[in-house]
């Protein structure tokens, strides 16, 4: 049977991996190529590479570093950051991405999901949604968590699946960087509505958080950044632990 996936996330800015809390207060961590190789060796099931400021600075994603990473990593690589057109898909796929993550670009132009799914296949289109609670409603945010779009997140996620997204990365802004566990409530609410794989993001602090996460039916993968970057938890160590807890893992 298929395993649950552990996915370290490389948030890249100006060629360095960085990490913030609640999407703010960013600090420098490491060279992305070095870090990616390390995760690959440690048994990461996949890597996500976000050019986090591409969208804010309104410029195309850096493909140079992406190529450097992709040349050395032989596990699936999802890439995101300022993906607005099919041309952007093309560019990052040619630089070594296997899947492309769309976020604000798809909110501005939802047809991007359909067009990309048709051209590159559903498996290639990962819908990434940044969600926070506003007055008791799940709301979609953009610009790295700075801007409330007013869009209901559950509606948008369901629409994204219908339009052909092959996977969902659900980033909870409310739990991001807080390290008190994934946003289980939000994940349960979303998992009830869709059948594409869900990658949970935001809030992992300890190994037990992943055990709780994988109890939710419909969650296929856990994504985290800082706990891996700062070596609070080793990817390999985590996967062995989860396997011991009876969760199906590739170790």
């Amino acid at each position: 049977m298929i395993t649950k996936r552990i996915i370290p996330c490389l948030d890249v800015r100006n060629g360095r991996v960085v990490k913030g809390t609640n999407f703010k207060g960013v600090s420098d961590v490491e060279d992305p190529v070095k870090l990616a190789k390390l995760y690959n060796q440690a048994g990461a099931d996949e890597l996500v590479f976000y050019d986090i400021t591409a969208s804010v600075e309104d410029r195309p994603l850096f493909t140079g570093i992406l190529k450097e990473v992709a040349k050395e990593i032989f596990i699936p690589l999802t890439v995101g950051g300022s993906i607005n057109t099919l041309g952007d898909f093309d560019r990052v796929l040619k630089a070594g991405a296997d899947k492309v993550s769309v976020n604000s670009g798809a909110i501005k132009n939802p047809d991007l999901i359909n067009e990309a799914a048709e051209k590159y296949g559903n498996q290639c289109v990962v819908l990434s949604v940044d969600v926070a609670r506003v007055n008791g409603e799940y709301r979609v945010f953009t610009k790295g968590g700075r801007e409330d779009t007013g869009i209901n997140a559950l509606d948008w996620i369901v629409e994204g699946e219908k339009r052909g997204a092959g996977e969902l990365v659900l980033n909870s802004i409310d739990t991001d960087g807080v390290k008190k566990g994934f946003d289980l409530e939000m994940l349960r609410d979303v998992a009830k509505l869709i059948s594409i794989p869900i990658i949970a993001s935001g809030g992992a602090g300890k190994m037990e958080d992943f055990v709780e996460l994988f109890k939710i039916q419909g969650v296929d993968a856990g994504l985290a950044a800082s706990i891996f970057h700062y070596k609070e938890i080793g990817v390999n160590e985590l996967k062995i632990y989860l396997k011991e807890q009876g969760i199906n893992m590739r170790v």
Partner: protein, 203 residues
């Protein structure tokens, strides 16, 4: 020299990178003359079956491939490239394939439990059906490989080398004479995948 057939479907970057990483010389091409000079060929592919078959046909490589494999040159199909090796596919209606491997390509939905997600995305274990196959000389039972697909091989028992369980027995590696196919992506399957590519280079 390994020839990677470039017929406009899918991403060849990681396949080329993984061969580079292994120190294996390769060339990405759609030119008949170059393909004839290589000593083995990889047929990659992502996307829809008919579209891919038509593209291969349009650049005139179907008869060329047929001649090349008759000489015994090893050919490895990956993902959709593996599916193209089969007799026919039932993806969006019936479509003929290259016919190098006996069997059909069918929608996974037809055989897999409704509760399981389709596409079959992620890492799954290999169960070995034919230990003697040279493509898996460095592979062992239980090794994990990375799959992304919604259609699968069927009626291909005579060519089955390895399979995975996903609500059904999903053919993972098939082989007949000098023809090999992987449903999963060896270029995305970490060390296990690299070993399969190395084994292919040594056939």
């Amino acid at each position: 020299m390994i020839g990677i057939i470039d017929y406009g479907v899918g991403n060849l970057f990681s396949l080329k990178s993984s061969l580079d990483y292994l120190g294996l010389e390769s060339v990405v091409t759609n030119e008949e003359a170059i393909l004839r000079k290589t000593d083995r060929i990889i047929l990659p592919g992502v996307g829809a079956f008919k579209d891919a078959y038509d593209k291969l046909d349009k650049i005139g490589l179907i008869p060329v491939l047929g001649e090349i494999i008759k000489d015994g040159k090893p050919l490895l199909g990956i993902c959709l490239g593996m599916q193209l090796l089969f007799d026919k596919s039932y993806e969006h209606g019936e479509c003929r394939g290259l016919g190098y491997i006996n069997g059909d390509i069918i929608p996974m939905k037809r055989v897999v439990d409704e509760q399981l997600k389709i596409p079959h995305i992620g890492w799954n274990e290999l169960k070995i059906a034919d230990k003697s196959n040279p493509l898996i000389k460095y592979t062992k039972e239980g090794d994990f490989v990375y799959f992304v697909h919604s259609y699968m091989g069927s009626n291909c028992e005579s060519s089955l080398v390895a399979y995975s369980e996903y609500g059904a027995k999903v053919p993972a590696i098939v082989s007949k004479d000098n023809i090999y196919g992987c449903q999963f992506h060896p270029e995305k399957s970490g060390e296990v995948g690299l070993k399969i590519l190395r084994a292919f280079s040594e056939i």
